[in-house]
């Protein structure tokens, strides 16, 4: 309920943030805090410094070029969801972000916070994977495949700051989510993006190793992009997580149904 003693810091630049981080004993970057703060309140995490990076100018902004839509890591969900450039460019992405948490969460949470946390039931990781995103940090550039490393794990090193994420613009894309009736996180969700060089299907909420690409679905849809192409398929049960809300068998069913709905309803989102 109460955090252990910590110091809240709000740097104005990446350099300042890094310096504050390096000087801390057990520091943490704060970029929304919807996971970090409950963990600290539950005394599951202890950090002597909370470095709030949401106001750093270098982490702001949304920009479009010919091939990519680039979003600064500290951009809040509400700003992404409402940005005309996102809505025009990748409507499914804007729509998806508009379903994260609730209004309060969307006004505090950020894209970078979500992707750095890589919660297995979060929405953003599936969009990043299906949209073949490029992750820019203060040190390097990573592909989505390189970036996601399993449950709550990414390629980010301690102290490494995510600066921006560039989503490859698809021909069209769709997102379908089945919500956990209690938490409202995804019990299973599919982001299906059609690129010039093929279809990418990313599944979140269901995999026992976090977000993943469903390659069988991608090749089936590559032959013919319609939901019936997936009829003979079944999501890999070995790969499914299991809990009180959905066992592996049910999750596998939801994965397939969500994927089919995302295929049928392109350029929008489907809440199941």
């Amino acid at each position: 309920m109460y955090l252990y003693d910590t110091t809240y810091l709000r740097p104005g630049s990446i350099d300042e943030a890094k310096a504050l981080y390096d000087a801390g004993e057990s520091p943490a970057f704060l970029s929304g805090g919807h996971t970090l703060l409950p963990a600290m309140k539950g005394h599951l995490a202890r950090h002597d410094r909370l470095i709030d990076i949401r106001r750093i100018p270098e982490l702001q902004g949304i920009a479009e070029d010919e091939s990519y839509l680039t979003i600064g890591a500290a951009t809040r969900h509400c700003d992404v969801a409402a940005a005309p450039v996102v809505r025009n460019c990748i409507p499914a992405l804007a729509g998806m972000v508009g379903t994260i948490g609730d209004v309060q969460v969307r006004h505090v949470g950020t894209i970078g916070g979500s992707l750095a946390n890589n919660d297995p039931a979060a929405d953003y990781p599936s969009a990043a994977l299906a949209l073949d995103a490029i992750f820019r940090t203060d040190q390097r550039t990573l592909t989505a495949e390189e970036y996601f490393q399993g449950l709550y794990t990414t390629a980010l090193e301690p102290g490494e700051l995510l600066v921006s994420v560039s989503f490859r613009k698809p021909e069209h894309a769709g997102y379908a989510k089945f919500r956990n009736p209690a938490s409202r996180y995804a019990l299973a969700a599919a982001f299906v993006a059609v690129h010039a060089d093929g279809v990418r299907v990313a599944i979140t909420g269901a995999g026992n190793d976090g977000v993943y690409r469903w390659h069988e679905a991608e090749s089936a849809l590559g032959h013919k992009f319609e939901s019936e192409s997936l009829d003979p398929l079944r999501a890999d049960m070995e790969n499914m997580s299991s809990d009180m809300h959905a066992n592996a068998e049910y999750r596998a069913e939801l994965v397939k149904f969500c994927t089919q709905k995302a295929v049928t309803n392109q350029n929008c989102i489907t809440l199941l």
């Binding site: 109460y2 955090l3 539950g42 938490s183 009180m244 809300h245 066992n247 069913e253 149904f257």
Partner: protein, 816 residues
Amino acid sequence: MNKNALPRRAVPAPTASREVSYRHGEPSPELKLVTDALFRHIGKPVPRKEDERLITGKGRFTDDFNLPGQVYAAMVRSPHPHAVIGRTDASAALALPGVLAVLTPEDMLADDLQPIPHNPVPSTNYDVKLRASDGSFPFVGPHYPLPLKKVRHVGEVVALVVAETPALAEEASELVDVEYDVLPHVTATAEAFQEGAPAVWDEVPDNVLVDSRFGDEEGTDAAFRRAAHVVKRRFHIDRVTAVTIEPRAALGHFDAETGRYTLYAGSGGAVRQKGEISKVLGVDRERLRVLSFDVGGNFGARNRVYVEFPLILWASRRVGRPVKFTATRSESFLTEYQGRDLITTVELAFDEAGYILAMRADNISNVGARCVSLSPLSKGSGLISGSYHIPCATLRARAIFTNTMCTQAYRSSGRPEVTFAIERMMDLAAEELGMDRVELRRRNLVPPDAMPYTNPVGQHYDSGEYEKNMDRAIELSDWDGFEARKAEARARGKLLGRGFANYVESSIGTPRERAEITVTEDGRVEVIIGTQPSGQGHETSFAQVVADMLGVPVERVQIILGDTDIVKEGGGSHSGRSMRHAGTVMAIASAELLADAKSRFADLHGINSSDIDFHDGVFSAAGVSTDIFALAQATAADKGALHAAHTNEMHTPVFPNGTAICEIEVCMHTGAPVITRYVTVDDVGRCINPLIVHGQTHGGIAQGVGQAMWELCAIDEETGQPSAGSFMDYGMPRSDNMPSFTCEIAEVHSPTNPLGIKAGGEGGTTPALAVIVSAIVDALSEFGVRDISMPVTPQRIWQAMRSAQRNQDNLDRSNR
């Protein structure tokens, strides 16, 4: 609807004349005047007086109170479901600067604190008598504020820490090192009474603290022998928690100079808290003052004393400072008194024509680690036959201990459980008998001309028009349009199902209530009453009653409650008692006040009191008139304040009743259910404020639907650990998963009290569990699904469809 398919069976003539007395005395002329009065405010949807205060943050909830110099308590809680408590080492905690005390069971014994006298066995004449198997008074498990030798559920408080800040208290509580010798545990209701289950209390080796049998065994057996059909099923109405929006909190202060304790703690009734906590502390009642103002939800969970309340008062005496405790949401999930948890096995015997001949029921209530209330078992036991005429019945009622948090009465204590059983049985029996489920019910309903009606376990239903409720609900639901809606849903890949449930419930509650009414010289009417609202709008509906009685504007009436220095008596709010008990005693006190006022008016003007007319708050006779406020002012010097106080006792229960119908669409692919229609007709007796009653019905429905669809205090049986400890896993009804309700109030006035009130707070909940499951099963009927356990989550529904489909496939294969 063919209402006349078969001749109705004769139902015994009303029993009231022989066995029940509804006499509440000949009304006094003033009370008659009052009840005959044109009801100006009663029955009108007066907006709630308290809302502006509450929604603008001006409520006075427990955590809003602070005292100078206060310090904070945090609880050390057991991580084990069952263990012997060993050595407690508090040295690390005490070493933190700012930690004032760590209090343990030894300290408690040294200071001679006593167990909380919960008095869990219902004792009014109208409650069924629950006893141990040998007929003795049940062993309930002493509830010391800190346990003496063993912990018996996860989350039980084993020590408390007092420190200068809440954060420090919490940190120190993690440093208290308690040794445990872990014992085998049992948490599941179905397991605890089996042979070889670990004993929660050595005093009750088989864990069965109550084992009572009721009814006519011989007659029932005979009826079953001649039955044409017998239908039997077992149901588990699982465990839920109240999730009050305000977690429990308390601020305690011991004043060494006066030797008096003060407790700020929201509850279901400050007077009860004062009585019981003073016994725990071993002090005279008047040495404890309890204040309970705004309360953010109760639903039964707050009616019993929590260990933290006496603990912080005791801690305040020990440290010499006021001590505050506010539970976290996690603590609330773990240790707020929980609800339901009943296993019931029901057997119904039918004749050829579908009339019920007899019933057998076997009810097992899981009371948790201690028995704080047998209300759920008792209330349910009296209503096993529901709205139906069942000539003969037997019931075995058992209560069992388990290594879980204690259960308590939870909104509509005991009744949703037995309503679920009888209504599910009616659906299942209709299916097995090949009859229409509405017709089967219609045939067996208790008819109005049989009222008052004595049911087979001895409850006297006061009044009600059950068939009329049913027909009105059918009409409101557009019953005949269902097939078209079903076909339309099917075209969208949805299975539409329709649920149906009747209900009758009982409202008993503490029989005594007191009202003090004063017409103040500054032009207000003050009403002191001992009930405790937690969102029910008493400040409005009670004011409406008094305003009507005294003929004054409702805005002038002020309801005062919640401070035991002012409110000396009062039964609190539970079991739908508040409007009925408070309404009645306020009416009687108003009548007495009017009688006094009349004689004052007569004296003032020297006229005969029989000639006085009273209208709209104005007394007039022989060309003179005075309004009640002016009269109070004019006579105050001579005769004191215009004031009346009355204590009233009413023992006779009332039986609210009604019908609920709902429709649910189920996604064929995911099993996800969506409620698309929900209709109720609720007989609440006289309705004082339809706006508030509708609000109560809506909330009640959500609470019942919540249990049916999402809520479950899941426990891992292996480890005994609760596994739904937060909103991440404990699903709740929300505005976006509730439909818009169609609710109609039926007013069949109860003959048991002068205002004809029944109750309106629980009727929404009572049939909700049954009607939801009925609709889901109806939606899945084409798959061959006949029953499904709650909560009916998407996964459960999908699995039911799936396994029914697999069975069908296997069947097809073997037939090929």
